[in-house]
Amino acid sequence: MRAIRVFLRSFKEAFKSVFRNFSLSIASVTCTTITLILVSIAILFSYNVNNVTKKLENELTIIVYLEKDATKEQADELESKIISIKNVEEVKFKSKDEWKFEMMNYSTTLNTTLSYLKENPLLDSFVVKVKNVRDLRKTSEKIQEYEIVRSAEYGEGMVEQLVSIFDIIEKVTIIIVIALVLVTAFLINNTIKLTIFSRRSEIEIMRLVGTSNYAIKLPFIFEGLFLGIIGSIIPIILTIYGYIIAYTRLDGHLFSNMLSLVKPFNFVLYVSLVLVAIGGIVGVLASYRAVRKYLKV
């Protein structure tokens, strides 16, 4: 019962303390706000970049052209063989007529050329989607070995370069986010440490009048939590409204339809959750560590 009362009182005291130490609170909150805004921007940016690269990766396929004299049975057999390959996600048959139709729509030159020909010179094919584009080459080589396969193409060299560039972009953005989170943690940690440093005489007095370490620590820990959470309010508002506005203004994509943005909901809510978690957790840890330092009397 006593411990619960101490707990509840600490909560109340921490709340009061945020306002009574107004200038110190403002300093911590401002620092938290600014750094969390940066973190938010970094998360929004990197998530979108990764989203685009994932989408582009999904567009990468292997096209398996069949021999001209392949029968229907052979084609079916090949399809079941391809689909049993581990890395294969999906196989779709695309007949030579479909190709012809697509090509004729693509350009007028092709249109005239193809319509001039009596027979369709194109080949029947399978469009193969893979699970992991990094193994695109291996999978295509494997398919190549099967009978009645004339060729399995995946855009060779270009694709490999593209995938490795995506990998680099992904890694760089993740590193940026992690680095920013660390910097944020460090900055919030330091301002809260200073806040408590300027109040170390209070901690000393509390000890002198016979307050247990638990009862000294708790209000400071709650205060750290409050400061962290208050500091994340503005970044969250900016994240939610900023992103929704940017999304509608840009019509959901950058430059072209290929570079589509992540839909605002529930994306912004997750980002907000991450921001408040960073603020709160770092606030608690920072004040806990700072107080503990002055309790070693």
């Binding site: 101490v6 009182r9 303390s17 002198l208 016979g210 307050t211 070693k296």
Partner: protein, 233 residues
């Protein structure tokens, strides 16, 4: 009945300064004791040993049956709850009101509000500050702040009150008022009082037990002593 017992106390600080050497001392319940001596003689160290701000290098400190030097850091608060301490610089919590300051030792201990309130009001009444309940420390005069400090020290009704130069920053008139207050606490509540002071006037007027320390050694311990006993004594 003795409340405090120091046995063969030695205290050497890490920088090599010996603050106390072979100090033996007994103080009974309800006594009023002055501790005097030149600056740096070790009297503050003596006080700090009693509320475990410092540990003796050698020897035993017994306060109300507690072996103080054996207390672990985490448990020190249990001793301090039983001891009231008054400081020269008051040491009030600056962001808390007079009421909250006096209530602090109780509220941080998880005692019910309904039990805290009468105790705090009684303590504030005793020091004559009942009407300043909602003031903050920086709105009070030095004498008033010292009264708040005293109220905080006695709110738990401790058996022992340690006073470290409580009148050091106050003018003679206010000092006298504070001393009267402390004496009344000694008489009415039976609280044992140990006071470090430089104020010869106070010591001479009150005629209590006086312990003189010089260079870390107790040089005199006289029952109705004065600040500067004649060499002929």
């Amino acid at each position: 009945m003795k409340l405090i017992e120091l046995k063969n106390i030695y205290k050497t600080y890490p920088n090599g300064v010996t603050a106390l050497a072979d100090v033996n001392l007994q103080i009974a319940k309800g006594e009023f004791v002055f501790v005097i001596g030149p600056t740096g003689c070790g009297k503050s160290t003596l006080m700090k040993l009693l509320y475990r701000e410092e540990k003796p290098t050698k020897g035993n400190v017994l306060v109300g049956g507690i072996k103080v030097e054996r207390l672990r850091n985490r448990k020190v608060y249990k001793l301090r709850k039983k001891i009231g301490v008054i400081f020269q610089n008051y040491r009030l919590l600056p962001k808390k009101t007079v009421y909250e300051n006096v209530a602090f030792p109780l509220s941080s201990d998880g005692i019910k509000d309904s039990e805290i309130r009468p105790k705090v009001l009684k303590a504030l009444e005793r020091v004559g500050l009942k009407e300043k309940i909602k003031s903050f420390p920086d709105e009070l005069s030095g004498g008033e702040q010292q009264r708040v400090c005293i109220a905080r020290a006695i709110v738990n009704e401790p058996k022992l009150l340690l006073c470290d130069e409580p009148t050091g920053n106050l003018d003679p008139k206010v000092s006298r008022e504070i001393m009267d207050l402390i004496e009344s606490i000694n008489k009415k509540l039976g609280t044992t009082i140990i006071m470090v002071t430089h104020d010869a006037q106070i010591v001479n007027r009150m005629k209590k037990r006086v312990i003189s320390i010089d260079n870390g050694v107790i040089t005199k311990d006289i029952m109705k002593g004065k600040y500067k006993e004649n060499e002929s004594n």
